[in-house]
Amino acid sequence: MKKTVFLTLLIAVVYALHQDFWNWNKAEPLLFGFMPIGLAYHAAYSFAAAALMWVFVKFAWPAHLETVEPYRQDNKVEVKR
């Protein structure tokens, strides 16, 4: 339960960080001398999104789906051989 709450909050925080209103009218500082801060922030945000997905894969992976087998009408489970 704690994990679910934490991961839900994590999504909410990362989603909220997309709305970087503090960079709205700012061009500087320029990253590497040419990339406006608003663009650099969202480039970094893409990496944060990848990191978020890594966290989900690591800690919230739906492992029960790995054992899904074709359904049979009589509701019997097929045996792996």
């Binding site: 001398g33 406006p36 997905m53 489970v77």
Partner: protein
Amino acid sequence: MIPALVVFAYLAVILYIGIFAFRKGKATGEDYFVASRSLGPYVFLLSLFGTNMTAFAILGSSGLAYQRGIGVYGLMASASGIVIPLCIFFIGTRLWALGKRFGHMTQVQFFRDRWECSFIGTVLFALTAAMLVPYIIIGMMGGGHTLETLTTVKDAAGNPVMMEVLRNGQTVLEPKHWISFELGSAIVALVVMSYVFFGGMRGTAWVNAFQTVMFLTFGTLAFVLIAKNLGGFDHIVERLAANPKTEGLLTRARISPQEFFSYTFIPLSAIMFPHIAIMCMTAEKVTAFKKTVIFYPLCIAAIWLPSVFLGLVAADQFPGLKPGESDDVILRLLTANTGVVVAGFLGAAIMACVMATDSQILALCTMFTKDIVSYYAGAKRFSETTVVWTGRGFVVAITVVAYLIALALEDKAGIFELAIRFAFSGFAALAPVMLAALFWKRSTKWGALASALWVTATMAGSWYLYEMSVGMAPKPGQPLVQIFPALGDLFLRSPGNVLVYGYLPVMPMVLGSAFVMILVSLVTKPPGRATLEKYFPNREGRQASALSAPVSRPVINTPRTDTR
């Protein structure tokens, strides 16, 4: 002529990929429509990403950044980079499991079985098919126009050779082309039809994977070569910042916070696109999704970041272009600054038009075959071979019809482009239907129907408001206009959109769709117990479900005979 030859070489390569996939294939419906659910993690990642990338990602994003600045990246790319992987993680994996467990190949097959409905499934089929068709037509037109442009006849000075053409009863001068729009569209249609016809999903997936690799390679190469030729970007950004007309491009001054926020709803459409949902069912193992969701945001960044930034560079190099004229700024930059990659990049551009069409045609043919023919005529009546040839027949029929429409309505391309814009919102607004089907036991077919009707009505309403307010649209930089002054700021008109209290219509569409889904489901009868237990068998001792995790450890590999 060299770029055209490069394009033909590309077309030959993807045709070969399709034929090669055909030789690897089996004569079963599952193999033709979902590649026997056998794609490995890397092909799955590249093909899923490639399927979702369109020409807009490279050409359109630069053109839009030219007009609206760096905010385009946050508006479209980084928002997609978070929302789409989350959708694939939570919804795509479940769709894969449903396909594996129950043999579903389309969204409608799942909806029908999950909600015990027939006609409502057909309504959902009709809605999604209708929203998908404009994409195919536009893809066909884009391919024809690109080939036409690439084969423009030029004189010794490099200027286009003009010729007299009869248009609407009047003689006008137009550039002469080696390949006309009609022939170009026919070539593109024939190539796409051929590899989809023979290769099915396997051919389409391989071609998309090839395209993605090509995009990433050419994109990076183009960025580096342009930077080198211009002597770096520092002084360009300084010039843009010093000019009052362009300084806003380095910030988000040309995008409102409401628009920026509501745009995050648009990527919800990805998982409701039939071609993406079907693609989710092609992975061999669910673990293939792991790499896909992690690398998806990085792939988006790799393609969009250079494209958006080059839009800024173009604003410095080619100032004063109007919307529409700025769509090809990346091609102008390449022509002006590189000699080596330009031909290859033009090839990639036409492939961008082509590659989105292939998976859409295949998705539509899968839907027609499974959701209409097999469903209404009875799946057991057909052999596997018949199913495959029915699918191939639809591939030919859909391609020919799309080609004929592209020819007949070439001058009406704007209508289809507009349809695509509204279809994006429509697909996004259908996401609550999928979420309810997957995760909410109490959801009903009537709730799904109510959502579908809401989506249809709001799309039609948005389109009507857009058309009726064209005359009052403000120019860029001017304040928003109230469409009905008596209603205050409820409906506003911006230069390019209708807004609801300043937000894009997609936001109320998605929220409204979720609301009616919940409301109508709560007052209508849920599916029978047997169906619910089939999809949500969460009591102890039940086998692992395709949707919900079992309460206790799954006993999937233990033979059981009892059902309770």
